[in-house]
């Protein structure tokens, strides 16, 4: 993998730091009136999500990480791994719970997800921003005060529980924003 000089660093660049893949989220150049210049980088660990700060000398270089994002189709889960297929090569690959990071709450078989691969192995699965899922269980709406915008929990077919307005009934299909885990609207048929 290529290594990068300080002048080549950019936000979004994937780096191998302490043997783990990181993405650059912020950069700054720091220099005293005379003397050594430093590059201060905020980097997010792609395995743990933790953001840390790293300081480099102007003459330092950093190893790049072989990290690529791929669109893959979700096939099935055996309970410990979730299997995805590359729609072009038909190659199949299993992601573990850590890589799923909660994505399993939002996806149905056939859904296309973004799978981040590090050295060919999945480290992060991102579901589509919006999904449509059917309510399998929710209490009947409480009559009366609907103007206050009250809500109630509803269980979806994937097992996820979301807050929905009181008028939503079991069996309805809902549009959900997976980034916030919030109800958006009834799905349009």
């Amino acid at each position: 993998m290529a290594s990068y000089g300080m002048n080549q660093l950019k936000n979004g660049l994937k780096l191998l730091i302490d043997s783990e893949p990181h993405v650059v989220v912020d950069l700054d150049f720091v220099k005293p009136g005379k003397g050594q210049a430093f590059t201060r980088a905020r980097v997010r660990n792609l395995l743990t999500g933790r953001v840390t700060e790293k300081t480099y000398k102007a003459s330092d270089s950093v190893e790049g990480a072989d990290v690529v994002d791929t669109s893959m189709q979700y096939l099935y889960s055996d309970g410990t791994e979730w299997y995805f297929m590359n729609p072009e090569s038909y190659e199949q690959i299993g992601a573990d719970q850590a890589a799923m990071g909660g994505a399993e709450l939002w996806i149905l078989e056939q859904d296309v997800c973004n799978v981040t691969l590090w050295n060919g192995q999945p480290i992060q699965v991102t579901p589509p921003n919006f999904v449509e899922l059917t309510v399998t269980r929710t209490d009947p709406g409480v009559r009366g005060d609907t103007s206050s915008g009250g809500n109630k929990p509803a269980t979806l077919e994937t097992g996820a529980v979301v807050k929905v307005p009181l008028f939503i009934q079991t069996g309805e299909k809902l549009r959900i924003d997976t980034r916030t885990g919030e109800y958006v609207s009834r799905a349009k048929e």
Partner: protein
């Protein structure tokens, strides 16, 4: 599905990086700067940005230029100091310049590779009297909130003792490394480690309601300043820097006038460039020849004008005070 890529016209980002209001403020501050120096009888000069020589400082990267019509390589100047000192040696008297300067590799929130310096030289003044004048100019240029309290002056050594409980001149390297902590880049030499401590451990705690001067730098960081013993008898470089609102604004010197010492420092820098694998640069023989004929006792300072505008405008990024920052140029 590729309608975006095939779009016949793509928006070219041509607009300025500064607002019209900021450009007006910038012009106002330039006018006030000129009026300040006119009132004190300091002559405005302009010296070449393309010169045959440049400073060999290992931490400054000049931009080299080749002209079809000229047989030697030229350098865009990292500051106008070399040429201005030749004017001083020729008897110019007090002079100032509002100059574009160029430094490769310096891009960030507070750095643009092409930027503006206000640089001036005052025969007969030492570093402390020049600090007085810097304070007077900044009082004319900066918002009142940034100078609500009287300015402070710290000896470099006292500042490190006060903030980090470490003596930058006397303590062993190992002690400095401990204070720098595990997030410092490994393998820093003494001066680089001190630069790290100043920029990462001290500067973030500087007050935002007053000017803060730091003077009497370690002799190894004297650059083009003369050396003198400090109150404790150790040699220090008679240099100063000034901060306002958390930004380092200016770097001043009680100037070195000795041509022999000047040549020795240039040659030491050139050896260090070689050690670090950097390109050699030509020594400024014209400056050395000028110093040999005699150089007035004087102090000089370079003030980052764009940062002054940033503070006046409340800008977070230098691009906001430049008509077109490097990525818009």
């Amino acid at each position: 599905m590729s309608r975006i890529a095939d779009a016949p016209t793509r928006a070219v980002p041509w607009r300025p990086s500064a607002s019209r209001a900021t450009l007006e403020l910038r012009a106002e501050l330039l006018a006030r700067t000129r009026s300040f120096f006119a009132g004190r009888g300091v002559l405005e000069v302009e010296t070449p940005q393309l010169c045959a020589a440049t400073v060999p400082d290992v931490h400054l990267h000049s931009v080299g230029v080749r002209l079809a019509a000229f047989d030697r390589p030229l350098f865009l100047q990292t500051s106008p100091e070399l040429a201005m000192k030749r004017l001083l040696a020729a008897g110019s008297g007090p002079i100032y310049q509002i100059a574009r300067a160029f430094r490769d590799g310096e891009i960030g929130r507070r750095h643009n590779p092409e930027f503006t310096l206000v640089e001036w030289y005052r025969p007969g003044l030492d570093d402390h009297r020049l600090m007085d004048e810097v304070e007077a100019l900044l009082t004319d240029l900066l918002p009142a909130a940034l100078r609500a309290q009287p300015a402070q002056r710290w000896r470099y050594r006292e500042l490190f003792r006060d903030r980090l409980d470490v003596d930058p001149l006397g303590d062993p390297l190992q002690r400095l490394r401990e204070v720098a902590g595990p997030t410092a880049p490994p393998g820093l030499e003494r001066d680089d480690l001190l630069a790290f401590l100043l920029t990462h451990r001290i500067e973030p705690g500087f007050p935002h309601d007053r000017l803060l001067f730091v003077h009497d730098f370690p002799a190894s960081q004297a650059a083009l300043a003369r050396l003198a013993p400090d109150a404790e008898g150790d040699q220090v470089g008679r240099r100063f820097e000034v901060w306002a609102g958390g930004l380092e604004l200016a770097n001043g010197y009680w100037e070195l006038g000795d041509p022999v010492e000047q040549r020795a420092r240039f040659e030491r820098d050139l050896r260090e460039r070689k050690n670090r694998g950097l390109d050699a640069v030509p020594i400024d023989e014209r400056l050395l020849a000028a110093l040999e004929t005699g150089f007035p006792d004087c102090a000089g300072v370079a003030l980052g004008f764009d940062r002054v505008v940033m503070l006046a405008a409340g800008a977070q990024h230098i691009g906001e005070v430049l008509a077109f920052s490097i990525d818009h140029a």
